[in-house]
Amino acid sequence: MSAAIQHYQSEFERVAPLLPWRDSAPWHAWRQSGWSRFAEQGFPSTRHEEWKYTSVAVLEKLALSCTPVVPETMAWALLKEKSVLPDASHRLVFVDGVYQPKLSSVGELPSGLRMGAISDQSARDSIRLQGLLEQAQRRTPFAALNAAFMTEGAWVTADVGVHLDEPLLIMYVATKGRRAMHVVNAYEAAAESTFAVVEQYLGMTDEPYLVNEVTGVTLEQGAKITHVKIQQEGPRSYHIAALQALQKRESRFDSHSFALSGALGRNDIESALVEPGAAVSMRGLYRVAGRELQDFHTTIRHDSPDCSSDECFKGVLNDSGRAVFNGKIRVAPDAQHTISQQTNHNLLLSDQAEVDTKPQLEIFADDVKCSHGATVGQLDEEQWFYLRSRGLSSEHARTLLIEAFALDIVTGIEHPVLRSALESLLRSTAHV
């Protein structure tokens, strides 16, 4: 057993009595099985095809603490100014992986819509989480580790026909270094229900830490979830996540990922379209500078006929930043009339920046419309000249062009409040 696994093994033994539902036998078994999967696989190495360009060797050596600690008290005002939705009436806040009722405000939700911290659920109610998270927690070695350690997270459920227009806000704030936070999110939309949820991850420490996150999403017939995830992690942070969505008939899942900062980010996102007429839109923006790395591995499974998927990821790479985009589209043999579109566009702002982009199309049906395309380019010299010829400074022109490239990704967001909040976030965080 490697030193790293040994470290987490002893953490696991030490932490187990502190974790939620510690007396529940099914949870005990769940965590044990997660641990065994992790111990068996260990940390992925770059020899592993799925981790070829993303080395977690440094993370492996960090021996991070997994013990939940009570964070120092913090004022909402401080977080509010960093929040993407400062006026959200429904929010859950977690600091260093611990739920903060005082910073949160669930507010008045429409009846049939529930939002809460998972640690507030009884052992009995929480069992349903296993079904929601199982797929995602099997995805990567980190997700297995998450199954063993999961301590906190958000759970949102909407009953049949319930609609909420105002987006729910979930904030995960890291203030202490040298720690690993294993958090989960679960979103359930019953038939014909609709809601939007924004997860914002904020790093407020320059020390290394790990956010190891797993999200499970289920959408019943005709349901719609808009999911926005924003990573604004610290300069030495690791953010590793797996999301699995399961989509029933005519459901719609809109996923928007914004990886804006952090030393290393890795997202495995998968949606399975298991019944006819389901649609997924998977969009994302990654921005890297310095020596940052962002890695998106996405999978869209067309398991059923008449489904559509629309995927678009964009990257802005500066300095020695690196990015990986791997977009798998699988169309099952009987998934006729599939419409699937995938694009990945990258803007390289420096000679040292590097992106590895790979579409992976596995199409087993014949009556389908599938397209994909990837580009890697620099700023358009002609556009730059045009703007400067109107008197704009070369920096201003450059910033405008980068913004125009990046902001394009939010134009697809239907929700006007969300769209403008994200637009201003992207403008204010542009590190150029």
């Binding site: 000249f385 045009y386 703007l387 010829s389 109107r390 070369s394 022109a397 405008l400």
Partner: protein
């Protein structure tokens, strides 16, 4: 205002401008005509500061200063404006945003305060009326999805807002329908002023019917092979360039009479 002396420029190893001499005084309008590929756009771009053609020798004085030493934006702020032959589409950058940023960059350079949003809009809408443009174009991305003619009008709108000292119009008339040509010419004429000079690059006499030039120059093979008054354009219209190229190879250094 502008003195170009023996200007040579190349794209890569390929010489494009081969000794241009031209002097333009404030208040004058100079038309430059010439066959495709003769270097008209290259000259326009060199004056605006585009770096894809390299000046290999010669000099350009603008208002007594070495123009070639100035950055692109510096030239613009000092009053040089190029209306592009092929205006660039810039998705994601608002037309109105660019106009405002451009105008404020100029004003800042002149030591004037920025215009507030209301005054700015009033000014722009006024100029749009002159160009008979629909206000909705303000809120679209720069030139994105504009028709050929709309793009050209948008160039002149920018010029009208920025009020340059030296305007270079590179084939602004190409691709315009007859009505649009009148509107554009009207816009240009409204900017004619004692302290403003213009270079009109064009292939067609028709534009010069509306905007009467003081001088017409013929550019062939990167050289001005002939200069004259407005009547020269008429002759070209009738006879084409062959006539000049034949007899003109030896008379490259004709100076405009002034």
């Amino acid at each position: 205002m502008l003195i170009i002396k023996d200007l040579h420029a190349s794209v890569g190893d390929k010489p494009i401008l081969n000794g241009i001499n031209l002097e333009i005084k404030a208040g004058e309008i100079h038309a430059i005509m010439g066959p495709n590929g003769s270097g008209k756009s290259t000259l326009s771009n060199v004056l605006a500061g585009r770096e894809n053609a390299t000046v290999t020798s010669g000099s350009v004085l603008y208002q007594g200063k070495d123009l070639l030493a100035l950055a692109i934006e510096e030239r613009a702020r000092q009053g040089i404006f190029l209306a592009f032959q092929y205006p660039v589409e810039i998705p994601g950058v608002g037309n109105v945003y660019l106009l405002k940023a451009a105008l404020n960059a100029q004003r800042k350079h002149r030591g004037l305060p920025e215009l507030d949003a209301l005054d700015f809009l009033a000014l722009v809408k006024d100029k749009m009326k002159l160009m008979e443009m629909n206000e909705s174009m303000l809120y679209r991305s720069v030139n994105e999805g504009f028709s050929g003619g709309e793009k050209k009008r948008n160039e002149i709108l920018q010029m009208a807002v920025l009020e340059p000292k030296l305007a270079i119009l590179d084939e602004t008339d190409s691709g315009l329908d007859i009505d649009a040509l009148k509107i554009v010419a009207n816009g240009v004429n409204s900017l004619r002023a004692e302290d403003r000079a213009m270079i009109l690059v064009t292939h067609y006499q028709r534009l010069l019917d509306y905007i009467k030039p003081d001088f017409v120059h013929v550019l062939v093979g990167g050289k001005i092979v002939r200069s004259g008054g407005p009547e020269l354009a008429h002759e070209l219209e009738k006879q084409g360039y062959a006539w000049i190229s034949d007899e003109g190879t030896g008379v490259a250094e004709v100076q405009p009479k002034s």
